[in-house]
């Protein structure tokens, strides 16, 4: 319920704020040579002449009938465009997320277990650099090395997996790496710090006193108790990744959701922006929901609340 309210606020906020943006979609679409009557015709056609709130609730009503409206700049059904673009974005985001989780959490555990050693410092430095590097710049550097110098991977572009799987993988290696490195660093830092918080807990000593193996101690007794903050960060990141691929998509020229948003903002095609924001905030809400469910699975104390 709470997330529905939040989504409502987001879309209303964006809708109202869009009225403040200078310029409008019709003039942008028709260009400078458009006549008065043409502009008037299109403005009426898309309902831009009505009061703002009426427009908003019309759009909202349309959603319940499963209609998002038509894009003026793309001349397509917005729902079709969004579904297609979301698929592209997810095909980059999901592999990156999985890689970031696996490597980030493992490195975090290793760093915490070897606290204060050279290995720990090394991992910390890598994680810090990973978080400080501008994603777009790192993407360019990878292009420079792997495409321009070594010629082993394509510079940019996107191939749909159903068209040519091999090419699709080759095209997504670099963008996935860029995205994964950034989030891997976050997961690694969070894992390290929350592992350090549980590593000397009394129940860990109890477990050791039972004679169980080091692996059982790490995963069953330490990681499980350290997991709540890690899962929180992961949930927030997955939501942010879906909208935040803008930079990666822009560097590698990937026709995803992020690029769509940029071009829609530039074209002042606000219905696309509005629906895009809706999709992104639904994804964020779903992530939050999953995280909440996971809290209960991980920690019985939260389950009973």
């Amino acid at each position: 319920m709470q997330s529905v309210i939040v989504i409502f606020i987001v879309t209303l906020m964006v809708f109202l704020l869009m009225q403040l943006v200078p310029g409008d979609a019709v003039t942008n679409f028709l260009g400078a040579s458009a006549t008065e009557s043409q502009i008037e015709y299109y403005t009426k056609l898309f309902g831009y002449d009505q009061p703002v709130l009426v427009q908003y609730f019309k759009w909202l009503g349309g959603l319940f009938r499963g209609e998002m409206g038509r894009s003026i700049s793309l001349q397509m059904e917005i729902s079709d465009v969004l579904v297609q673009r979301l698929q592209v974005t997810l095909s980059i985001v999901l592999p990156a997320f999985v890689i970031a989780v696996v490597i980030g959490v493992s490195l975090g555990i290793v760093a915490a277990k070897n606290r204060g050693t050279v290995l720990d410092s090394l991992i910390s430095v890598v994680a810090n650099i990973g978080m400080s590097m501008p994603m777009f710049w790192f993407g360019l550097m990878l292009i420079l090395v792997f495409a321009n110098i070594l010629h082993i991977l394509p510079t940019s572009g996107y191939v749909y997996p159903q068209d040519d799987l091999g090419a699709a993988i080759r095209h997504s290696v670099l963008p996935v790496t860029v995205l994964a490195l950034n989030y891997m660093s976050q997961f690694c830092r969070q894992t390290r710090s929350s592992m350090l918080e549980v590593i000397r807990q009394d129940y860990v000593t109890t477990a050791k006193a039972k004679g169980v193996s080091a692996r059982t101690i790490t995963f069953r007794h330490q990681l499980r108790n350290a997991l709540i903050p890690i899962v929180t960060v992961m949930g927030a990141s997955l939501g942010a990744m879906v909208g935040g691929t803008v930079l990666v998509e822009s560097v590698f020229v990937i026709p995803g959701l992020g690029n769509l948003m940029i071009s829609a903002i530039k074209a002042r095609d606000f219905m696309v922006v509005e629906n895009g924001v809706l999709v992104i905030s639904v994804v964020v809400a779903v992530c939050n929901l999953v995280v909440d469910v996971l809290y209960g699975v991980i920690d019985p104390r939260i389950r009973n609340d």
Binding site: M13, L17, N128, P134, W137, L140, N148, T232, I265, D292
Partner: protein
């Protein structure tokens, strides 16, 4: 207080000890100091005019004359990097101050106000947080238009929610303390009580957050400028320079490499100083995310039950 005792007070303080205690932190602070000096003395330090276009000498590559070469319009890259430090520094500091100031205000009002005020403000903050920062910044940037001041405001607004959340959390926990109740019993007004007893308790956590956010503000500006929706050209901005260099990546990669390295080093330094400061001032802040998770869950359950 004379000068000596003031100096002693500063060097004896916990913050000073922590910041100078670790070698890596000292190095980072030194680099940041260098950044400030560079930004302040840019006209003196820059070997050339960063805006002077010489179409005859474009994309020259590294040479004794132009250490980092020239860009597509024949401008000296090194000079532009030196001038670009101004943008990064100003955006970083200004947007963080905007975010911190307004965020604390929102947090205070939410924490001290009634249930309705609290709910409304925090739902708006949730809504802002559910849009990825870069998209929100792009959007606000479009509304305000390009330019240094506008970008600062846009990035600042995007970062408000985290300050509001931290402040509200602090307010709620401090509000129940006995000394605040004592203030109420002594007849202090709500506003006075808030300012004297509650506000000071929120400052340190927010200061830590601000240091840690300086880096991400700089990254955001670079990203916006890279996307061509940030600082107006021809003003030199590191993000914009990477964008310029993008097109000539294979011919003259240094144009894109150099400003990127600058961004990375500066952000890294801010992040590391922020980490040390957090460890020193507020070790509890480390678990903020986790506690937020639990609290939301409990609040959600309470609402469902009620």
């Amino acid at each position: 207080m004379n000068k000596k005792s003031l100096w002693k007070k500063i060097t004896g303080s916990r913050v000073f000890k922590v910041l100078t205690g670790k070698k890596s932190t000292v190095v980072c602070l030194a680099i940041l100091l260098l950044l400030v000096v560079t930004a302040a003395l840019a006209p003196v330090l820059a070997p050339c005019d960063p805006y002077e276009q010489k179409l005859v000498s474009q994309l020259q590559g590294m040479s004794p004359e132009h250490w980092l070469g020239t860009d597509s319009m024949g401008r000296d890259v090194l000079s532009r990097i030196i001038y670009g430090s101004r943008v990064s520094l100003v955006v970083g500091i200004a947007s963080t101050l905007i975010a911190g100031g307004f965020g604390m205000l929102v947090g205070l009002i939410a924490g001290m106000g009634g249930r309705i005020v609290d709910t409304v403000l925090m739902r708006i903050m949730d809504a802002m947080m559910s849009v990825p920062m870069i998209i929100l910044a792009l959007f606000l940037g479009t509304i305000f238009g390009k330019g240094l001041g506008n970008i600062c405001v846009a990035i600042g607004i995007c970062m408000i929610p985290s300050y509001a959340r931290v402040t509200r959390g602090q307010v709620l926990s401090v509000k129940e303390m006995d000394y605040v109740t004592a203030g109420v019993l002594c007849g202090a007004s709500k506003i006075k009580n808030t300012l004297v007893h509650i506000f000071p308790n929120c400052v340190s956590a927010n200061l830590v957050l601000m240091t840690m956010n300086l880096g991400s503000a700089i990254l955001s500006e670079a990203a916006l400028s890279f996307l061509g929706m940030g600082i107006n050209p021809p003003t030199a901005s590191w993000g914009g320079m990477v964008n310029d260099g993008y097109k000539y990546l294979s011919r003259d990669p240094i144009i894109a490499i150099a400003p990127g390295i600058c961004i990375m080093i500066v952000v890294l330094c801010f992040n590391m100083v922020g980490d040390s400061l957090r460890d020193a001032l507020d070790p509890k802040l480390r678990g903020t995310l986790a506690r937020r998770g639990k609290r939301t869950k409990r609040a959600g359950a309470a609402r469902a039950a009620g």
